[in-house]
Each structure stands twice: as structure tokens, then as C-alpha cells.
Symmetry: C2
Subunit: 339 residues, 2 copies
């Protein structure tokens, strides 16, 4: 099941799946559930290296694990993992083939953060597919942490990146269909936003993370969400752990979600508990309209323990560890919509 | 003493001032010191409304207090306070007259956050002086929280903002002088960055904050620092308090400083203790090169208690409360450079 379908199905009943509160990580296929849970509980110490990512992106996690198994570091792993999705033209939320803004422009946001707390980000980048690699160049080769728009593109060109048209035929058609009933304000719902966030721990036990997206479909020109924002879309502290966010970026930014998850782990919470409390910070706001949007977090701590949690059902995490590359259904807050 | 001179003097000896650890807030003039400290300790409950801002910006805090005294809310107060500095052509770090990037373009960043946790931001905005007001429009009139570059400018024009050349003759001359020895990488030192951040509590006890800057002088095109980043440059939680940052934005972003200050206050720390711990998070990093840059935080909690702290000496906070609009010298970490 692809990411878009997952998100679309958030408002639907669960197609036969029964998820319970106590199953924090359950496999997509009901027949796998018990097996997966037992396997998790038997592990006294999670083994390294490991990779986790938002949504169902097994090809991306496989690429990252290939880097790690070859002795590569977590930073290279998350960059190369994210690049798989950026190059995948079928994915309409990241890189080439991403759904455009209301004016038909595909604009990309990405960031990356390493074991030393260095980071790089690009926002509102156009015509260059591998936004995560430009973000890494910002980190590695400039004194800055974020470049925007034309400035980001000029920098990328100076570094040898080449421009290409990122609007695919499929995304152009989807945009033209949207335009028929387009309103001034884009409809913020749970169908048109998702992001690839990836965290890895290498054989040395060092953590890095990255995040890349084409953002909210049919957004206003220049809109930037949480994905390239250090602290909101991503945060890494190599002594504690790391977290990434997906969903409606505006709501993640307001609670600085990924940094919050890491701070909660610093206070002793498990990755799962930290993700749950960060979602709680959103849904427990006075007058929160959380029923109208989705946010999901995934997190890993220094020991290699992982967690994931979302507001609504159908969020998932892909995890590659101990030779197993699997999609793990996340537990979620809004049990009213449970099938 | 203006802000630029304050920063320049960071590396110099203290011109006769003796600051001690125990004086968390000391007045600029030594003869005022004792008086100020006594006045602070006598207050059992700080009175509202109040305004604080980074650096020496008494005209800006006076404008904000005027709004508050007339019964205006904290959101209007911080916007109008920041606008004073944006319109001040002599200030070379904010709005009109801001020092340009390496290519001679003045590009502005700003954000604003209200009592309900709503926020708006613009990054890499050109040709429009009142970046903070565009940020507020993003918050009030779009479903987004951040607009960048051309997209931000287009939105501003649609809202009735007018374009103007922001590069003043003085800033053009400074840039041309810099170009003589310009290197590919801008020199990150403590002479060329400061930002106006402002926090206010209105008569109802509600908190808002805003931040506006032209960013690091002679930055690379498209560079964005901490100032427009919710969580880094600014964070407001109306139940807890608020914080803003100034200094080298890249270093604030890496520790998500303003959100960290608010989280520390949530855990029970005073604004002063929270600012000190957030600076500690920067200077205690392995291999921190904090001697090469300045970062300063100011914070206020729900009770109206305030704090400020920086890495190096000569950072200050302007505070308007109880009819007194005063510049308060901040305590700082690097006592080695103390006179």
C-alpha cells in the first residue's frame, strides 16, 4: 500500500484491521502482528545499525542499510535513502513528481543533521530534484544552515547540480484537476501531505537524520512547512536520539515537534512515550481541531529503541534492523475512528 | 550606545564597567547598578503590562508600551514595536537600511507568534520593509505559517504592501567597502549580526512575541538564520512564557534555543535560569567554538519575571515596565573577557 493511499484512508474504517492500544508497533498484515510483537519483546538490546523512516519506503530504507552495512556512516545513509524517494517519480510528495503549488510550480524543502549537531536546509528550492543533497552541501560547504529560493538554487548550480523540470505529467494532470474547483485558500486535509523523514544509527552508534518533501499540494507559492525546519521537521542529538515529523507541517511547527520529542527522551522517556507526548501537545491544545489533520512522529534513542505515533490511524514507519526491512503500523491517538 | 557598537565591543575590554556573577540584571551605568538591583528585589509581583526587547531599542519598546497602555493586545504591541526598528534607516541590521548580502541585496526574515500559539513567518523577503507585518498577514490570512522569497513578496503585494529599495546609501557604501576584501565564505564574527526580538504581556496577561532582521551582513544569497524560525528565533507559550534569540543564528538553530528556554521554564526554571541553561547548551558542546560568536537570549514568564543572558559581555535587554523604559546590561558566560 503506498503512502498516498495510507493517508487517504485515514478517514475511512480500517479494512478489517483491528489495532489495540497495547500494540504500540503492529505489522500491516494482521497475520504478522503477533510475530512482530514477540520478536520485539525478545530483544534485550536493539542491534545496530538500524534505519527508520516515515511511511512505507522500503526501497529507501534498503538503500540506507546498504550504505550502513558497507561501513558507511549514518549521514551518508540518510542522504542516500532520501534520494531514492526524491528520484521516484511515482511518489507525489517528494522530489521529482511532487505535486506543485497552486501556480503549478514544484518547490522542495529538505534538511539534514549529523552526529555533531551540524545541519543544513533548503526551502522553496525549484528545479533541482535532490533537495536533501543540496541541504547537505549547505551544511558541509557554507557557514550557514539554511538557504532559500533563488539563493538556494544559485548555490546548488555553483556546486554542480543540474536543473530539470520536476513537474511530471501525472502531477500536472492532478494539478489541473484541482484547479477546476480551486479556492483561494488551499484545503488543508489529510489527503495531500506527506514527507520522507529518515533516521539512522551506524555501526559506530552515531545518529543522523534527514527529511525531504515537496510540501503541501496546491500550497500558496513560497509556502514552507516543517520539513526543512531544524527542531520541527527533524532534530538529532547524538547523545540522546533523534526524531522526524510528517503530516500537516503548520501544526508541527507550532509545537516544534521533533525537538520536543528529543527533549522528552533527554528527560528519560522512551521514544514511544516521547512521540505520544508530542502528539498530546497538539491534540490537547485549547480548541485543537486535530480531527482535521494528521501529524505523525518517529523517533529513535541512543540505544536503538524506536517509537512512532500519530493523531489518526494509518500512519506507519518503515524499519530496517537485524536483516528485516518491515513496515510497522503506528499506534495513534484518535481511537474513535478505529475500525 | 547603539546595538552595533555593543556587538563590536564584545571582544574589547569593558570600558570601566565591572560586572559580577551575582548581578543578573545590571544597568549600563555603574552608578545605577545598586539602585536597579534593589528595585528588582523589592517587587513581589512584577506588574503588567510589560515589554522587553533585545539590545538598546527604547523607541521600539516605547511604541509597544503605548499600544499596551491604550488597552491594545500584546500581538499588536510587538508588531508595532518591531516596525519602529524596521523603519529606522540608521539601524543596519533590520528592515530598511539593513546591510545586504554579498551580492548587494537586502533580504529580510521575520516571524510573529500569538497567545494562541498561532504563528507566521517570512524568509528571504526583498523590497518590503515591514517584514514583521507580512509575517503577521501570513499568520492571519493564510493557512500557512511560513512563506519564502518570491512567494512571500507576491503574497505581500496581494495584501497591499508596496515595494521600495531597502539598500540605503550608508549600507551600500559599507557593502562596497566589504567587497574589497570579500572572500567566498563570509566571515562569521561578532560584528555583523543582531536582530530585534520583542516580547510583550498585555493587561490581560496574554503573551506575544516577534522577531525581525536583515540577517547576517554579507551573507550568501538566500541565507536564512534563526530569526524567522519558530522555536529557534522565537517561541511563545501563553501558559508558560516566551523567549527570543539574537546573535549568530546558525548556532541558535542548532540548539533550537527559544523553544528550549520555554521548555526549561515549563520545568520550573526562572527566565534567567532558563536563558543561562540554553546558553550552556551551546558553549558546552564538544569542540564548541563559542569564543568566535555571540548569542543572547531574553525571556519572560507568565508572571512577568524576565531574564537575559549571553555568551559574551555587552549584550543588553530593553525593558519597559512600571513606567520605566530602561536598558539592562545582561549577565554573560565568558567571564574571561570581563574587564
Amino acid at each position: 500500500m503506498n503512502r498516498r493511499k495510507f493517508i487517504k484512508n485515514t478517514a475511512l474504517t480500517g479494512a478489517g484491521l483491528t489495532l489495540t492500544n497495547s500494540l504500540l508497533n503492529c505489522a500491516e498484515n494482521p497475520s504478522d502482528k503477533k510475530e512482530t510483537v514477540v520478536a520485539e519483546s525478545e530483544k534485550s538490546e536493539p542491534s545496530l545499525p538500524l534505519v527508520i523512516a516515515t511511511w512505507h519506503v522500503k526501497e529507501a530504507t534498503a538503500k540506507a542499510m546498504e550504505v550502513l552495512q558497507a561501513g558507511g556512516n549514518a549521514l551518508d545513509a540518510v542522504e542516500q535513502g532520501c534520494m531514492v524517494e526524491e528520484a521516484n517519480e511515482k511518489g507525489q510528495s517528494v522530489g521529482k513528481g511532487g505535486l506543485p503549488d497552486r501556480d503549478g510550480n514544484v518547490t522542495l524543502d529538505a534538511c539534514i543533521m549529523d552526529k555533531n549537531g551540524n545541519c543544513g536546509a533548503v526551502v522553496y528550492l525549484q528545479n533541482i530534484k535532490h533537495a536533501v543533497s543540496v541541504a547537505r552541501k549547505v551544511m558541509d560547504d557554507t557557514p550557514h544552515v539554511m538557504l532559500a529560493g533563488e539563493g538556494a538554487q544559485q548555490f546548488a548550480l555553483s556546486q554542480g547540480f543540474e536543473t530539470e523540470d520536476l513537474l511530471t505529467e501525472a502531477s500536472r494532470k492532478a494539478w489541473e484537476k484541482w484547479k477546476v474547483e480551486a479556492k483561494y485558500k488551499p484545503i488543508i486535509n489529510i489527503e495531500n501531505h506527506d514527507t520522507i523523514g529518515m533516521l539512522a544509527i551506524d555501526k559506530n552508534g552515531d545518529i543522523s537524520g534527514a527529511c525531504t518533501t515537496s510540501g503541501l499540494a496546491y500550497k500558496m507559492g513560497g509556502r514552507v512547512g516543517d520539513s526543512p525546519i531544524i527542531g520541527s521537521g527533524l532534530f538529532v542529538d547524538n547523545e540522546i536520539g533523534a526524531a522526524v515529523a510528517t503530516g500537516l507541517g503548520e501544526e508541527v511547527v507550532k509545537t516544534v515537534g521533533s525537538f520536543l520529542v528529543v527533549e522528552l527522551m533527554r528527560q528519560g522517556k522512551s521514544p514511544q512515550e516521547a512521540c505520544e507526548e508530542a502528539i498530546g501537545r497538539i491534540v490537547n491544545k485549547p480548541n485543537s481541531n486535530y480531527k482535521d489533520f494528521q501529524v505523525g512522529y518517529i523517533a529513535v534513542n541512543k540505544k536503538g529503541e524506536t517509537g512512532s505515533y500519530s493523531i489518526h490511524q494509518w500512519f506507519s514507519m518503515t524499519k530496517f534492523q537485524n536483516g528485516v526491512n518491515e513496515q510497522i503500523q503506528s499506534d495513534f491517538f484518535n481511537k474513535e475512528e478505529k475500525s
